[in-house]
Symmetry: C2
Subunit: 210 residues, 2 copies
Amino acid sequence: MDSESVAPGTVRPGGRTAQVRAAVLRAAGDALAEGGFAHLDLADVARRAGVGKTTVYRRWATTTGLVADLLTHMAEESLPRTETGSLLGDLKANARLVQRTLSDERHGALFKAVIAAATCDPRTAEALHRFYGVRIAEWAPCVQQAVDRGELPEGTDPHEVIRAVSAPLYYALLTSGATLDKPAAGRAAEAAAAAARAGVFASQAGTGVG
Amino acid sequence: MDSESVAPGTVRPGGRTAQVRAAVLRAAGDALAEGGFAHLDLADVARRAGVGKTTVYRRWATTTGLVADLLTHMAEESLPRTETGSLLGDLKANARLVQRTLSDERHGALFKAVIAAATCDPRTAEALHRFYGVRIAEWAPCVQQAVDRGELPEGTDPHEVIRAVSAPLYYALLTSGATLDKPAAGRAAEAAAAAARAGVFASQAGTGVG
DNA sequence: ACGTTAAAGAAACTGGAGTTCCGTTATGGA
DNA sequence: TCCATAACGGAACTCCAGTTTCTTTAACGT
């Protein structure tokens, strides 16, 4: 990326170059979902994508580099949030979306794999952080609306509340063998809402409850 | 492990065998903390441990196998919890312990690495789940005491409350670049306490708040 | 439409992770 | 204390992930 001259794929990004990137990223997602990050092999990705392995090595160089680009791609296709009119309804919708994504065989494995990749390389970690930054920012407005309606204390940090919804679901995915079911999503949303109402995420920290 | 005859290290586990295991696990921890799971190399671990690489390959075979054994070892040395007399005090002590561990340069990297390893292999995942099972069970009694004191609703699941304390800290460690500071630990404890008081973790789920 | 050259791709090469072989050490039972 | 053998360790070997080299294809400015 910061190499001498320009990175491959930047001068003539149209046509074949774009097709190759799409095919390789799709293949990388498949490979990650099937075998996890440890078994990710660039030659195998090239084979799946129907592309020369030289091309993959030249454009992405390492497995972490490929995952970083995959995350950039994933951040671009962010799905719009739904609106229910109440804080708890919105948070439950968000929790349900996360829970369904993570408990889906393919997507759950894929998310585990990209998180694993991010722990091994700073640049990939940055891409992961940006991805979640986008996802969180997409849902934060529903918390701000709740503050404006008077459902939550002034100064509540919307991003913190949305993160509080996802956190227990990701924690369960990674550290326990428990299945992520609908009740788990409900608890995640209700816990975040209860904490937000108690003022835990308001700017004057620690003033919440005694 | 389920191979023909017996696994190496089980028939004569004393003396040299035990020393080799200790040296290798220490070296593995160092290597994981420094380079992450992706760069873990059994030959390098052997070199660090001052042990023949043949030995490491024979006894642990794969990087995930080595991490699994490391997790088993980590589960055995569980540190006792502190008691403060109040639920929030106990939860804050727990949150503080987790936060200090994860924000420590070496331990933070180590935990990220073992989580990454667990995403790549079922046996390692099992070992990780057992490790967190032990850690959570160590702290669960303080929640039960709060229930007995009447601080929390009957039927509150102690394990869920303790997990709720750790979840946002691990989520931050893995998905955001944010530094885990003392206020973050405080928020984690207060959020879990607020949710528990609201009945989110009580057996009759969803009855919590309207 | 045409020419320049960026980017893809085929094939041969290389280094090191992981394996095999066999000799050496020292554990644990008698 | 002594012996059988479990476990360790050095060294040579294998195989494939990753690299290098060179040729072919097609993107984009004119």
